[in-house]
């Protein structure tokens, strides 16, 4: 086969987001024997959202560990292992379960570097599935980006495409500080919960990193800046395409990480467009939308003509499909918000 043809074949290869994540994890496990994965249903089952599919076959039970329902115990074990020099990846399954291990996450994982005066670091990755849109009710559907981003000491990563998911995962595992890596169920590309078209992208076979704190302009536009993350990147892009027919040119920015937060890209965009819409699947109060609006107001108040926030109302996420659809922002909600800035 000619080299040119081989190159084309590699470029053509498209992965779902779960495959891209797993490829990064497997690469790091091959490179560094201190990297291991633990969590509920991550070994034999391959992760309930395919977050570890195939890892057990290659690495065995010593490095891909199923644990009992014992979040405090195994997240505490991960913190200890990280302090002792290993590089654990601990999966919380649903992010909603963080409450039972809040002390380990909120007080130990995030703070032990500070509490020890820098004599230990905690190079661990906490992975968890976030998001609704599939009728799993109030304790299995939250995003909680803001909860972790609010806590000093934690880096927070939220990929929206397969390409980003792989590059950010490489970075997360190699980082010497604790990282919370939140993947949206609806983006993973699993058979029983189809993803929208966007998250599946070409993914290089080789390893590469995407620096934390680098927001990505997923669509350029001149009339209004739409800032979002995760699943809603794809809904915002759909809204932008729809409005393009009406002569509204929306720019869509994918934050990719909340901590560190790339306010520069957002502010530069608002200086260009003059209008800001922030879309979030987390709760509205004390969340990402407020933070972004405040950051832009700090630095570019004079450029800001109009602001709209689109987020979940402050209610537990309903089980009934019609009610869940009502509270989670959809494409029409985003279109309406963009139009409201005009």
């Amino acid at each position: 086969m000619a080299q040119e043809e081989r190159d084309r074949r590699v470029v053509e290869r498209e992965l779902t987001m779960s495959r891209a994540m797993v490829e990064a994890i497997a690469h790091e496990m091959r490179e560094d024997e201190e990297v291991f994965y633990m969590g509920e249903d991550v070994a034999d089952y391959g992760g309930i959202f395919d977050s570890t599919e195939g890892l057990l076959d290659e690495f065995g039970y010593d490095r891909v560990m199923d644990v009992p329902i014992s979040e405090t115990a195994y997240l505490g074990a991960a913190v200890g292992a990280a302090q002792a020099g290993m590089r654990p990846i601990a999966e919380l399954m649903f992010v909603d379960f963080f409450g039972v291990a809040m002390d380990q996450i909120y007080n130990n994982m995030a703070k032990n570097t500070y509490m020890s005066g820098g004599s230990v670091n905690v190079p661990m990755v906490l992975t968890a599935a976030v998001g609704g849109t599939y009728n799993d009710a109030g304790q299995h559907s939250q995003t909680l980006y803001g909860t972790f981003a609010h806590l000093p000491g934690m880096k927070v990563v939220v990929p929206s495409t397969a390409y980003d998911a792989k590059g950010l995962m490489h970075n997360a595992i190699r980082d010497d500080d604790p990282v919370v890596y939140l993947f949206h169920k609806r983006l993973m590309g699993i058979g029983w919960m189809p993803a929208p078209g966007g998250p599946k992208t070409p993914v290089p076979k080789t390893d590469y990193t995407i620096p934390f704190g680098s927001a990505d302009v997923k669509r350029e536009g001149s009339d209004v800046t739409v800032v979002t993350l995760g699943l809603h990147v794809h809904r915002a892009l759909e809204a932008a395409e729809s409005l393009a027919d009406d002569g509204v040119d929306a720019e869509v920015i994918d934050l990719r990480t909340l901590v560190p937060l790339d306010t520069e890209t957002v502010v530069d965009s608002v200086r260009k467009t003059g209008n800001l819409v922030v879309v979030d699947e987390d709760y509205r109060s004390f969340g990402v939308t407020g933070e972004i609006v405040a950051s832009v107001a700090d630095e570019a108040l004079e450029n800001l003509d109009a602001v709209e926030r689109v987020a979940l109302p402050d209610v537990p996420i309903p089980y009934a499909r019609s009610m869940e659809n009502e509270v989670i922002p959809d494409v029409q909600d985003i279109e309406d918000a963009i139009q409201a800035t005009r």
């Binding site: 084309r8 074949r9 053509e12 779902t16 089952y45 391959g46 590309g189 058979g191 029983w192 189809p194």
Partner: protein, 87 residues
């Protein structure tokens, strides 16, 4: 589509069927598109039957000639998912 009868069918079948009770599955993802050059052992697509996820691999070098079940399509175990033109 080629009329070459030497085309190799990629059937949704294999040892993994012993692990599943269901007879229907869904194509989750095609890693390569029609017309792509493939090498023996390359993953062509990911299928899911119940919770079991399986990579269908190219049995030979060649060109992925035709996809019979697109992403999201359901299939019955044993169905032909695609054809490879050897070469």
């Amino acid at each position: 589509m080629s009329e070459n009868t030497d085309r190799v069918a990629i059937a949704a079948d294999g040892d993994w069927t012993a692990d599943v009770d269901a007879e229907e599955g869904v194509v989750v993802n095609w890693f390569v598109g029609e017309g792509s050059a493939v090498e023996e052992g390359d993953s062509l697509c990911e299928i899911q039957v119940e919770k079991v996820s399986v990579d269908m691999e190219a049995p030979t070098d060649g060109t992925l000639d035709e996809i019979a079940h697109d992403e999201g399509d359901e299939f019955t175990i044993g169905d032909t998912l695609a054809w490879i033109e050897p070469g």
